[in-house]
């Protein structure tokens, strides 16, 4: 039986060697798919981080603007009485 297996291999190893590249291509493509999926997850992760930062900065600017406006309105509403010597101050 061992001799038959050896003879089978010796007579047909070229055929088997031809199949190895096909298997390698199959494995390689699967690896590329996994890499693309991993890369996509990284892209989304990076974008999420940057988006959070931009959202925080936008909200902070809006909040500061609203605060300044409220203070400006309060200050403008305060009208100090005008006396005769207003031009001397």
């Amino acid at each position: 039986m061992d001799q038959k297996i050896k003879d089978l291999w010796n007579n047909n190893k070229v055929l088997f060697f031809l199949l190895i590249p096909l298997v390698a291509v199959w494995f390689g493509r699967n690896i590329i798919i996994d890499l693309l999926v991993s890369s996509s997850n990284k892209v989304v992760g990076d974008a999420t981080g940057k988006s959070d930062k931009l959202t925080h900065e936008s909200d902070a600017a809006n909040a500061q603007a609203n605060q300044i406006k409220a203070q400006a309105d309060v200050t403008a509403a305060k009208k100090d009485p005008v006396t005769e010597d207003w031009n001397k101050k």
Binding site: M1, K4, I5, L8, L15, L19, L22, V23, V25, W26, R29, N30, I32, I33, L36, V37, S39, S40, V43, V44, A47, K50, S51, L54, T55, E57, S58, D59, A61, N62, Q64, A65, N66, I68, K69, Q71, A72, D73, T75, A76, K79, D80, V82, T83, E84, W86, N87
Partner: protein
């Protein structure tokens, strides 16, 4: 009658504390030397105008800061939108590649399965002889 007179006297007394009422047409006199003479009411009225003008200028300056900050917030928001647009384009490219590779890989898997099964059957037949 006494009540009416009392009310009238009170109104006349407190009228001295009323807001300055300036008639700009008649209460400002031009002098011979080129200067102008204002009544007290007009003097106070000018003071009120200056106070209000200064207050408005200060408020405008603050509002300009508000506008600048709102512009900054809008810019950040637009940048965020652009970021997600660009990200979706990049992901679309990747997904298209994955889809293409995956569909071809399925064919390759099927083909290799058939070939290896056929080879196994043939090898078994060879060994049986």
């Amino acid at each position: 009658m006494k009540t009416f007179v009392s009310a009238l006297l009170i109104a006349l007394t407190f009228s001295n504390f009323a807001v300055a009422d300036c008639n700009f047409a008649t209460d400002i006199t031009k002098n011979d030397n080129g200067t102008y003479t204002y009544t007290k009411e007009c003097h106070i009225a000018v003071g009120v105008m200056k106070r209000d003008l200064d207050s408005d200028d200060a408020q405008l300056a603050e509002y300009q800061k508000v506008i600048d900050l709102k512009d900054l917030a809008l810019t950040k928001s637009n940048a965020n939108s652009q970021l997600w647009m660009d990200t979706s384009f990049r992901l679309q490219d990747r997904m298209n590649s994955v889809d293409s590779l995956s569909s071809k890989n399925q064919l390759l898997t099927f083909g290799l399965g058939v070939v290896f099964t056929g080879l196994a059957v043939w090898a078994a037949g060879q060994l049986r002889r």
